[in-house]
């Protein structure tokens, strides 16, 4: 979907990942699949960008990773939110929603 998806605003991907991880620990592909499922593939996210974001957030201490076994029994790297990441998600999400509402109010068709 990348070539016909909507270009993603910077920092948005972080929030989406944090939100996705808030329901529990999962590996990278699970995160991608969940986001695609939720957005109906409307957002053009490159898988590589997602991993870049994950590793960056791990460095910042928002998420942490450990090796475990996927459903198929294969070794996979699982991520989960840290308390710091959870705080981050709350702040970022609130800001995002305020921003989106403001933009939406302008773009909304005005009733005559």
């Amino acid at each position: 979907m990348p070539e016909n998806g909507i270009a993603l605003l910077r920092g948005t991907l972080d929030v989406l990942i944090l939100k996705t991880l808030s329901s529990g620990r999962m590996h990278g592909y699970q995160i991608v699949a969940r986001i695609e499922e939720r957005t109906g593939g409307e957002l053009g996210i490159e898988d590589g960008a997602l991993y870049q974001s994950l590793h960056r957030m791990e460095e910042r201490g928002w998420v942490e990773s450990e090796w475990g076994h996927a459903e198929t029994g294969k070794r996979a790297r699982f991520y989960r939110l840290t308390p710091e990441g959870r705080r981050r998600l709350g702040a970022e999400a609130a800001g995002w929603i305020r921003y989106a509402r403001a933009v939406f109010r302008v773009l909304e068709p005005v009733e005559p």
Binding site: P2, D47, G48, Y51, E58, E59, R75, A76, R77
Partner: protein, 882 residues
């Protein structure tokens, strides 16, 4: 994964592999999903790669993040580990406060003693003297080759050396003098030094404020200028920099302050003031007045030895040219460091050694404590190891414990050292150079920290290494194994206690030898009685210019002093023995009928002027003939009294009474009849040999530099103010230069010995106390461990005294080893004491025997309570134990 557990560190390669595995897993799942939806495998792979985007970029960016994260984790792991170890160690203080306090307190004592003495040694001995290029400065001293006595220099000789040698860049002298500060009431006597051109250049003493003397200051007829000492500036002028350029009143006339000297200048002394003293035409002829301080600065590149050879050459020439004054005289150039610090070095070195020995005892004691604790903890630590702690982690934990103890001990020790330094300042003889500015500074604090760290390593590391070296399995293997390590631990503790005893014995021997020296010294007869005598020194010259005036004023003061309640007698003398500013005079003593050739040096003796009452007041015994009487007046026949030494030297086998001699006192020789012989007095200290001395009546000379010795009924201090007042009642403008109990002056001469003895004794006592703690701790522990054995012995019929004897004989055995080692060490160490000993050999059997006895007694005393407890072991209960 919990945040508490440290994750094992990963290498860069491992990080890269994990990243590749993660990406591979993702791509695989993507392909699987696509294939499941019906995409052919080849297309699915292409699609998965397309959706991933740039693999290279992502890999690189992720890798950088991961590597940064790893570095950060490693850093926090180290600090967190350290913190955990330290927290673990501080818990020790809460769990076992007694143990921790004892260990830290022991280290504190050692650190405090070592730091205090180090600060003193560093401050007084090690720092360079505050003179420019002070290693080029030498003090000049004349030496009488016949008597071996070193004296100051005469101005005539100084001028000759200065003009006829080539080794010196500058040479000058300081002439002792006294002035009264007359701007205060009553006038305050001040030590003043008249310094000649060349003195400041030779010494290299730049003033702190203002300027040094200029060439023009030495021109006669110029207004008077002075440099004041730092002590005078702070004590008398409130450290006010505005004093520069102001006039102060000295002996009633104004003198302008042009500069303030630096603090703690130890030469020629630290108090008083300096004024310019130009060379005069008469100076070249004065080769006798050798009471001045001579100083010179070596030319760059000239060694002291070369300069000394240069001086020897000129001294030889002078002796040939002026046989009457310079025959048998040499001059020595002594490095100023040696001159100022030479006499204090042996004492301070001994004290430093003593402090280090105490530190050693403290370390051994702490090590013993940690050992005892370590033995009990072996199982605990073994469990740690079994649960996965690496040997390194265990070691780190044990060292952290040592560090916490050392840090607490070091900090407490540093605080104690502040008190210690204050005590040293109060106790130290004021003549100790630079002692007035002694304080613990950054160097002292650094020293304390180093000592504490070393103490931690020495006392903590040995047991730590030994403990962590045993493998976990070995220690867990049960009681028999525990018993082996137990025995080994006990052996180590025993060795430590023996080492403590040996070190304590060295200190004890030193203190005993010093104590015996002082006792021997104090038992020397003085030849006079100092108790209940007060001395007041006055200078009558300025206010009473003629001899008749001086005699009248002296008699008036004597009568007024004698009338003070509590006074039993008043004697007057020019050179009172043991007086700190004794005014010695020497003169020729030519016995009638014994001609002296022109090239021979005539016999010279000390000439002292005394009043008739002086000998009675000082209780100097009359051996033959008579004492002076009031009839020995100026117009009466000239008489003299000689002392035992002079009689023995100049009249061997003869009775001097009735003999006649020409004696020079304050002028050309006058013929006098010897009317009596009195006993010798020690002139300046308990070990100064009596000198040839002749006394002449005060009434026949009219001297103006006088010391009134007053015998009091009660405590001399109580009468002192009234005596001072009596002098001012006679003449309100007359200042009393020095006043104080004679006994105090006598005591002052042994102050440095008593200082070293007090500190050595204190150190030895502390070392003994620590050793006693060590011995008691060892035996308390061993007897507890042997309760079963004792119980069995008693059950089998051993008498309780026998059981106690078992413990005590062990104590005696350890004590004997400690004594043997300590005595051997003492014999080596005491050689450094010899400079401080008086009539006691460093190998004195009595002193060493006493010290050894005390130590053995201490070993037995330390084991006494455990021995009694062992004797009291009930047979039944202990058999039931375990």
């Amino acid at each position: 994964m919990s945040t508490e557990e440290p994750r094992p560190p990963r290498s860069a390669g491992e990080i890269r592999e994990e990243l590749d595995e993660e990406i591979a897993f993702h791509l695989e799942r993507r392909v699987e999903d696509l294939v499941r939806r019906g995409v052919p495998e080849a297309a699915a792979r292409e699609e998965a790669a397309r959706q991933f985007g740039s693999l290279v970029d992502t890999r690189e960016i992720c890798l950088k993040s991961d590597l940064r994260l790893e570095r950060q984790r490693r850093r926090t792991a180290v600090t967190r580990g350290l913190w955990r170890d330290l927290r673990f160690a501080t818990r020790l203080f809460r769990r076992q406060p007694g143990f921790a306090l004892l260990a830290a307190g022991t280290i504190a004592l050692g650190v405090a003693a070592a730091t205090t003495v180090f600060s003193a040694v560093d401050h007084v001995l090690l720092r360079p003297l505050p003179y420019a290029e002070s290693d080029r400065v030498v003090v000049l001293q004349e030496r009488d080759l016949r008597s071996g006595a070193d004296t100051g220099v005469s101005v005539g000789n100084l001028l000759s050396w200065s003009g006829r040698t080539g080794s010196f860049a500058a040479m000058g002298m300081a002439e002792p003098n006294g002035v009264d500060l007359t701007s205060v009431e009553p006038p305050e006597p001040i030590q003043a030094w008249g310094i000649t051109p060349g003195f400041l250049e030779a010494l290299g003493a730049e003033p702190l404020l203002g300027r040094a003397f200029l060439e023009s200051d030495f021109r006669p007829g110029m207004s008077d200028v002075v440099l004041i000492s730092h002590r005078l500036w702070t004590q008398r002028f409130g450290s006010d920099p505005a004093i520069l350029g102001k006039d102060i009143a000295l002996d009633g006339s104004p003198a302008r302050v042009v500069g303030v000297l630096r603090p703690a200048l130890p030469y020629p002394d630290t108090k008083g003031l300096w004024f310019p003293r130009p060379f005069t035409a008469d100076d070249a002829e004065d080769r006798n007045g050798n009471y001045r301080e001579g100083i010179a600065r070596l030319r760059p590149g000239v060694t002291r030895e070369a300069a000394q050879a240069d001086l020897d050459r000129v001294a030889g020439l002078l002796a040939a040219e002026n046989p009457r004054t310079n025959q048998g005289k040499s001059v020595r150039a002594i490095p100023i460091r040696e001159h100022v610090l030479g006499t204090v070095r042996p004492g301070l070195t001994v004290l430093f050694g003593a402090a280090l020995l105490l530190l050693l005892v403290a370390c051994a004691n702490t090590a013993g404590l940690l050992f005892a604790r370590g033995v009990g903890r072996e199982r605990e630590l073994a469990v740690h190891v079994a649960l996965g702690a690496s040997r390194g982690q265990l070691l780190r934990r044990l060292i952290a414990e040592g560090l916490v103890i050392a840090a607490a001990g070091g900090a407490a020790g540093l605080l104690l050292a502040f008190a210690g330094v204050r005590a040293v300042r109060a106790l130290a003889p004021p003549e100790l150079p630079r002692i007035e500015t002694l304080a613990i500074d950054a160097r002292g604090a650094l020293f304390a920290a180093c000592v504490a760290a070393i103490a931690a390593l020495v006392s903590g590391l040995a047991p730590a290494v030994r403990l962590s070296r045993r493998s976990a399995a070995e220690s867990l293997r049960g009681a028999s194994m525990g018993a082996v390590s137990e025995r080994e631990g006990q052996a180590w503790r025993r060795r430590l206690v023996v080492a403590e005893m040996a070190a304590a014995l060295v200190l004890l021997c030193g203190a005993t030898l010093l104590g015996q020296s002082l006792a021997r010294l104090l038992s020397n007869p003085l030849g006079f009685t100092p108790a209940r005598r007060v001395s007041l020194q006055v200078f009558l010259w300025d206010r009473n210019p003629t001899p008749a005036q001086r005699l009248a004023r002296t008699e008036a003061i004597r009568q007024r002093l004698a009338a003070v309640p509590g006074v039993e007698g008043v004697g007057i003398v020019t050179a009172q023995p043991f007086h700190p500013s004794q005014i010695d005079a020497m003169g020729v003593f030519l016995v009638e009928g014994r001609p002296v050739s022109a090239t021979e040096r005539p016999p010279r003796v000390f000439t002292t002027i005394a009043s008739p009452e002086y000998f009675g007041v000082m209780e100097i015994p009359l051996r033959r003939g008579r004492s002076f009487t009031d009839a020995d007046r100026a117009e009466a026949p000239a008489v003299a009294i000689v002392n035992d030494t002079l009689a023995g030297r100049l009249f061997p086998g003869e009775d001097p009474v009735g003999k006649r001699a020409r004696i020079s006192v304050m002028g050309p020789p006058v013929e006098r009849e010897i009317v009596g012989v009195v006993g010798d007095v020690r002139p300046t200290s308990f070990d100064s040999p009596p000198r040839s001395e002749v006394y002449v009546p005060l009434a026949q000379t009219g001297n103006g530099s006088l010391t009134f010795v007053v015998k009091t009924r009660g405590r001399p201090e109580a009468v002192l103010p009234a005596l001072r007042a009596a002098v001012t009642e006679v003449d309100s403008g007359q200042s009393v230069y020095t006043a104080g109990p004679v006994e105090e002056m006598v005591r002052a001469t042994t102050r440095d010995r008593r200082f070293v003895l007090a500190l050595t004794t204190a150190t030895a006592t502390l070392a003994l106390a620590l050793t006693a703690v060590g011995v008691a701790g060892l035996f308390a522990y061993t007897t507890r461990r042997r309760r079963r054995e004792f119980g069995i012995r008693i059950a089998l019929g051993a008498r309780r005294a026998q059981v106690a004897g078992l413990v005590l004989s062990e104590a005696v055995r350890l004590g004997a080893i400690g004594v043997a080692l300590g005595l051997a060490a003492s014999l080596a160490a005491n050689r450094s004491l010899s400079a401080l000993l008086y009539e006691v050999r460093p190998t004195d059997v009595g002193a060493l025997g006493i010290a050894a006895g005390v130590l053995l007694l201490l070993a037995v005393a330390g084991a006494a309570i455990p021995a009694l407890r062992a004797a009291g072991t009930p047979p039944a209960t202990t058999l039931r134990q375990e």
